[in-house]
C-alpha cells in the first residue's frame, strides 16, 4: 500500500521553457531506460526474491523510482509551458504536440511509446538482480547523455545530476542485494536451481 507525499524528492524549478530539451528528457519518463520502466521492473520483481533484504531493496528502490518519474515529468512539464507555435514547430516537438498537446505521455526521445518490454521480470532472483544492475547503469548513461546537452542550463542540469547520482546509489544497493542472495546459495554452482521457483524456502528469512 502506498501514500502520496505532496513534494518532489528533489526540487525542480525551471523558468525558461525549451521544447527541444523537453523532448530529449521525456525519454527518462517513458523511454527504454526511463523511470516508469525502472519502477515497474522492481515492483514486479519483488515477489520472487528469496530473502527479505532483496525484497526490501526492490520494494524501496521501486518506490523511490515513482518519485523520480514524478520529477522527470515535472521537468518536462515546466520545459513545455508557454511555448509559441513557432517554437513547437521549429523544435521538432510538432508530432508530439499533435497527439498530446503538451500533456505528459510516456514515450522515448525518438517517439517510441512506452511498453512493458522495456523491462523484464524473469522470476529468477539472480537473473533479475543482474538486469537491475544493468538497468541502473543504462539510466546513468542516459542521464550523462542528457547532461552533455543541458550542461549550460543549471536549472535543468541540477535535478538531472541528482537523478544520475541516485542511479549509482541504487546500483550499489542492488549489488549488495545480489550478494545477499548468492551468499545463501552454493558458491560452487549458483545456478544449480532457481531460488525463486525450485526451492523458494532455501534462503533464510525471519519467521513471523
Amino acid at each position: 500500500m502506498w501514500n502520496y507525499e505532496k513534494r518532489l524528492q528533489y526540487p525542480v524549478n525551471i523558468t525558461t521553457p525549451n521544447a527541444k530539451v523537453a523532448q530529449f528528457i521525456m525519454s527518462q519518463y517513458g523511454g527504454p531506460d526511463g523511470e516508469i520502466g525502472a519502477s515497474m521492473r522492481y515492483l514486479s520483481q519483488r515477489f520472487t526474491m528469496p530473502n527479505r533484504t532483496a525484497v526490501a531493496v526492490l520494494n524501496d528502490i521501486g518506490t523511490e523510482e515513482l518519485a523520480h518519474l514524478e520529477m522527470v515529468s515535472t521537468i518536462v512539464h515546466q520545459l513545455t509551458r508557454n511555448l509559441s507555435m513557432e517554437e513547437i514547430e521549429n523544435s521538432g516537438l510538432g508530432p508530439y504536440y499533435i497527439d498530446h498537446t503538451v500533456g505528459i505521455w510516456p514515450q522515448a526521445a525518438g517517439g517510441i511509446p512506452f511498453n512493458a518490454c522495456e523491462f523484464q521480470s524473469k522470476g529468477d532472483p539472480v537473473t533479475d538482480l543482474f538486469e537491475d544492475l544493468a538497468a541502473e547503469q543504462k539510466a546513468r548513461s542516459t542521464y550523462d547523455n542528457i547532461l552533455r546537452v543541458v550542461g549550460n542550463m543549471p536549472e535543468v542540469a541540477d535535478p538531472i545530476r541528482f537523478l544520475r547520482a541516485r542511479e549509482i546509489v541504487h546500483f550499489q544497493r542492488f549489488g549488495e542485494a545480489l550478494r545477499s542472495v548468492q551468499e545463501q546459495l552454493d558458491s560452487r554452482n549458483f545456478y544449480a536451481f532457481n531460488p525463486g521457483f525450485d526451492m523458494p524456502c532455501k534462503a533464510e528469512c525471519d519467521q513471523s
Binding site: 500500500m1 525484497v55 524501496d60
Partner: protein, 94 residues
Amino acid sequence: MKNGENINSRKQFLKKLNEVSFAVDDLLLYLDTHPTDPKALELFTQVSSRRNHLLKEYSSLYGPLTIDSATDSDLSTWQWAQQPFPWEQEGGCR
C-alpha cells in the same frame, strides 16, 4: 513475534488498522470534492488520529508498517526490511 507467537493478535491488530486506514482513504477522496463538509471533516479528524495512534502502537509491538513509524519500534536493528511483506502467507518469505 520472532518466534511465531502472537501471530493471531498481530493479524487482529492489522485488521483494525486496515479498517481505519480504509476510512481515511475513502474520506480523503470524498473531501477532495467536498472540502467544507463539516461531518466529513469531523469524521476524518477522528479516523486519522486513530490511524496514527494505531500505526505507532503496531510499530512498537510488531515492527513498523510505515517509514514514519520506524522509530516507534526497537531500533537496535533495522526492522523495516525484515517485516513480513503483505503477500506472504506461510512466513519465511512465502
